[in-house]
């Protein structure tokens, strides 16, 4: 089985990949390059097509059309066992009848590798569980099973490692710890990782590049910071963190900035961060970028007057305010509790301000709530 195809390496190239089930198009003309050696995340709500994409790369699903390449090798129609691709399955899929050692050795033995024991021991050390080799999978905790599933895949040193919601079954604390560990292991072994998840925090923590998927297509792709700071669509703005999106009209331009009128207020927005197609725009501001002061306080930057606090939640590191604006929109404001000033109260009249460079602009025809409901913490 160690033919030319298994030794394929290079970037993973998906081109015009489409998969339909009857009338339903799960993945719609997807084209994508995953650079060799990167930690790549496919992020999206359940049903967005990310798992189908992953299964097509693994060979568990045949594409309706389009191709999948690793470097120069076309693997689109190869069987799963013919591709240099391994998967860490959701819920791990460890073989219950085999010991941990035999689980990890499974792929090596099928490929007729000689020094099985040495390689298994090495990878068990890497995941820091060498003492569990003779146990059975159901004697292990969730976190341990997760690491064994990872070890079972990376011991084969595939050109591409696929992770299907690998941390979904773990509790929050363990998940945090595993995020850091996974990232470290990826750097250590230097393999290409493709990570599928609906958890934006998980994707942001680990991935070099994130592709946000929605309805079978890629909404936006980039580094975690790019996506967060400068989202191009309302879906990305709402799915990755929270956003305030306010309707406005671009009135004029002033050097590198657009001047936008929103309900009588004039604000400025860098042209480079505007993705509007015409004058109609959705002005976006992240909740933590706002500053909030009692009405009448002198403030700089973009300013919105006339807000009234409609709700206050004190959550320790910060206080979250809901502010009702004169045009009946509720804006979300996160204020760090680092200034010793007691939080404002419900009913207080306030003014909001922010630095113009934090503003981003979306096309005015977009649905401002896109992606905000699609924010489940579980599938």
């Amino acid at each position: 089985m160690t033919d030319a195809s298994t030794s394929a390496h290079g970037d993973v190239i998906l081109s015009h990949l489409t998969k339909s089930f009857g009338d339903f198009v799960a993945v719609d003309d997807l084209s994508l390059v995953i650079p060799e050696g990167s930690f790549f995340a496919l992020l999206g709500p359940s049903g967005c097509g990310k798992t189908t994409t992953l299964r097509m790369i693994a060979g568990l699903e045949e594409p309706t059309s389009g191709t999948i390449n690793i470097g120069k090798t076309d693997i689109t129609y190869q069987k799963p066992y013919q591709r240099p691709v391994n998967t860490v399955f959701q819920n791990y899929a460890l073989f219950p009848h085999l010991s941990i050692f035999e689980n990890i050795a499974f792929g090596l033995r099928r490929r007729g590798i000689k020094d099985v024991k040495e390689q298994v021991d090495k990878v068990l050390n890497l995941v820091e569980l060498p003492h569990l080799a003779e146990r059975k999978p159901n004697q292990l905790s969730g976190g341990q099973q997760q690491r064994i599933a990872l070890a079972r895949a990376i011991v084969n040193r595939p050109a591409l490692l696929l992770l299907d919601e690998p941390l979904g079954a773990l509790d929050l604390k363990l998940r945090r710890q595993m995020q850091i560990e996974l990232k470290w292991i990826q750097t250590e072994v230097g393999l290409t990782f493709v990570h599928v998840t609906h958890d934006q925090e998980e994707a942001m923590t680990m991935a070099d590049t994130i592709a946000v998927m929605n309805e079978g297509q890629i909404e936006q792709m980039g580094s975690p910071a790019d996506l967060y700071d400068n989202p191009e669509t309302a879906f990305v703005a709402n799915f990755l963190g929270q956003s305030n999106l306010i309707k406005g009209l671009i009135e004029s331009s002033d050097g590198g900035s657009n001047i936008v009128s929103i309900f009588g207020h004039k604000i400025s927005m860098p042209k480079s961060r505007s993705h509007a197609e015409d004058a109609s725009v959705l002005v976006g501001v992240r909740p933590e970028k706002f500053r909030i002061q009692p009405a009448g306080t002198q403030m700089s930057g973009n300013i919105l007057n006339g807000g009234v606090i409609s709700d206050v939640s004190y959550i320790g590191v910060s206080t979250q305010y809901q502010v009702e604006m004169p045009w009946k929109q509720e804006l979300m404001v996160f204020e760090q509790n680092d200034d010793g000033v007691p939080p404002l109260s419900k009913g207080d009249a306030v003014t909001l301000s922010w630095e113009p460079i934090f503003t981003f602009g979306l096309d005015g025809k977009e649905d401002a709530s896109a992606g905000s409901e699609a924010h489940p913490d579980e599938d």
Binding site: A58, L60, K79, Y81, H97, R111, R152, A153
Partner: protein, 265 residues
């Protein structure tokens, strides 16, 4: 007084269970006790304790011949029915095909047909075709009524098998054959073994269908039925009791092995 009633009502279900098990085991106990009865012919009245029957289980005429036939028939029918039933269970559990409901119906019908009807109809056919009933016709009949039970048992096991385990094997460089041999089959083995055990006990215990289709071949249940008219020799009790012990041993061993495989021990 009050605590007594409370204890009673709280443990009602347990008391009931104990009574239920007692009811279940009375005839078994009787069979055991009377296997030690020192009687030569009729085993109706207690005539004192002896090990003779256990020392010489073939002491009564024809009993071991009947037992031997039953074991041979049981093993052969079990092997064939388990193979055929497992294949059907695979087709139903793993493939989409036309005529599925017809197949399900054909599997269900033998389980919903009284034994006497199956026995009578098979004999009718054998007579119509001029086939003399004997060893072969018994095996044919036993395989026929065991298949459905094997299908149902194995199908349940296939349904509870996580498809991701097989996908994981394929992902780890095992082709279709290797995946079947190393993952699918070992994981289904307990279900198939259970189905085989069930088939064997159904075959070994069957009287009605066998009685119709056995001709002159004697089986253990047939032996018991015929001897019961004039008094059952204690050797029959010895064999019944031994079967009980052996079967119990097999089941307990199976559970032990199963738990070991899953690492619970």
């Amino acid at each position: 007084m009050k605590t007594a009633t409370r204890w009673f009502s709280r443990n009602l279900i347990r008391i009931y269970a104990v009574l239920g098990f007692t009811y279940l085991f009375i005839p078994v106990l009787y069979t055991f006790v009377f296997s030690f009865n020192n009687s030569t012919k009729s085993n109706l009245v207690w005539r004192g304790f002896t090990f003779n029957n256990w020392r010489n289980p073939c002491g009564a005429p024809d009993v071991c011949n009947a037992l031997g036939n039953s074991l041979k028939i049981g093993l052969l029918s079990t092997a064939i029915a388990t193979l055929l039933g497992t294949l059907i269970a695979f087709a139903i559990g793993r493939y989409a095909f036309k005529g599925r409901s017809l197949v399900n119906m054909l599997i269900f019908l033998p389980m919903a047909t009284p034994e006497i009807v199956m026995g009578a109809s098979l004999l009718t056919m054998f007579l119509n075709f001029g086939i003399n009933p004997g060893f072969a016709t018994i095996v044919i009949a036993h395989v026929m009524f065991c298949i459905s039970f094997v299908v149902v048992t194995v199908k349940a096991r296939i349904a509870s098998l996580d498809p991701r385990l097989e996908q994981a094997a394929m992902d780890l460089y095992a082709d279709e054959r290797e995946t079947f041999r190393r993952v699918t089959l070992p994981l289904l083995a307990p279900g198939i073994a259970g189905a085989a055990l069930l088939a064997f006990s159904l075959s070994f215990d069957d009287f009605i269908i066998t009685n119709f289709n056995s001709g002159n071949v004697n089986t253990f249940p047939k032996f018991v039925y015929i001897s019961a008219q004039r008094g059952l020799p204690p050797q029959a009790n010895v064999i019944g009791a031994s079967m009980f012990i052996i079967a119990l041993g097999v089941v307990l061993l199976g559970q032990f092995v199963g738990r070991r495989r899953n690492g619970a021990i």
